[in-house]
């Protein structure tokens, strides 16, 4: 089997299992109110972390590059209550624009 196929199969099976942890392992279960409250906060925590890594992370370094223009445009458009699709398109355009200038 080629290296590519080993990666495809192991990552595929591993990711499917990771996604199943919650819905398979914990479905139906009544959780204590405190646990429910904490789980409700997972979304802002993970999404904020993803904003940081998708904007600044390059391998193990934090860098400022054209992606910051995309994220900055997105912040402004969120504040202006722009529709969501417009935010994503402008994020790509701002990034591509800054990159083309360099």
């Amino acid at each position: 089997m080629s290296d590519a196929w080993v990666v495809v199969l192991v990552v595929g099976v591993g990711t499917m299992l990771l996604k199943a942890v919650g819905p398979v392992g914990l479905a139906h279960r009544e959780l204590p109110p405190r646990a429910e409250r904490l789980l409700d906060l997972v979304a802002p925590a993970i999404l904020a972390a993803l904003v940081v890594t998708e904007t600044f992370a390059s391998g193990r370094s934090l860098v400022i590059d054209a992606r910051l223009a995309g994220a900055g445009a997105a912040v402004l458009l969120v504040l202006a209550r722009a529709p969501y699709w417009l935010i994503v398109i402008c994020g790509a355009l701002a990034t591509a624009g800054v990159r083309a200038l360099h």
Binding site: A20, V21, G22, P23, L31, V42, A49, V52, A57, A96
Partner: protein
């Protein structure tokens, strides 16, 4: 029953509109990338259909193509996807039925369907199913068009990712507690990035939820 299903897919299509073009575009860029890194078309399509998680697929293919070892590619991709354990746990309440059904449905819980679905099972599954079709379809188009399209980063696809997560985050910070959690999560990710493999900072950032231990 059919009617119900029909309405819920319509609703998912409406709520998910903002994230569909991005997923499709990133799917295309994954296809282009896989081709340039000498993945066979079948391998790339199987990866999109099973892994169904953009950043990890791009990381694995890039690492392997750049001369990295098989083990490095696998570990990097699985670390990037390890956030799906806490993500899945946070929506587990919404899933019912027999184990195989829950296993299949869990595959549709991805970043965008999870964030926009907000715990609503039919919305999560509807958006997730549409995203899956766009993702695998985009991969196929990228594989077919590979050489015509060229380097995807020219189109700012990586900046679209950043903008997407800004927009998704904005829907999640309605209260002071949630804003505090977001700030803390961002800070944890920034501090850990230089010291840990990619993916670890995102999972550790989940610890920010402990802010809610006392306050409602």
């Amino acid at each position: 029953m059919r009617r119900v299903k029909h309405t819920s897919i319509n609703r998912a299509a409406r709520v998910g509109i903002p994230v569909f073009p991005g997923a499709f575009a990133i799917g295309i860029s994954f296809g282009v990338l896989a081709r340039t890194e000498h993945f066979s078309s079948v391998a790339a399509l199987v990866m999109s259909a099973t892994t169904f998680a953009g950043s990890s697929q791009i990381a694995a293919v890039t690492l392997l193509g750049g001369g990295g070892t098989v083990a490095a590619a696998i570990v990097a991709a699985l670390l990037l996807n390890s956030r799906y354990a806490p993500i899945g746990i946070s929506v587990a309440r919404a899933f019912q039925g027999r184990l195989p059904k829950r296993f299949v449905e869990a595959q549709l819980v991805v970043d965008e369907s999870w964030a926009l679905g907000n715990g609503d099972r039919s919305l999560i599954l509807g958006i997730g199913a549409i995203l899956w079709v766009l993702w695998v379809g985009g991969t196929a188009i990228g594989l077919a068009l590979g050489s015509v399209i060229g380097d995807p980063s020219r189109y700012g696809i990586d900046g679209a990712f950043a903008a997407l997560f800004v927009a998704l985050l904005a829907t999640q910070v309605g209260t002071r507690t949630r804003r505090t959690v977001a700030f803390l999560g961002a800070a944890i990710a920034a501090v850990l990035t230089p010291f840990t493999p990619a993916g670890v900072p995102i999972v550790v950032a989940t610890a920010a939820v402990l802010v809610g231990w006392r306050r409602p």
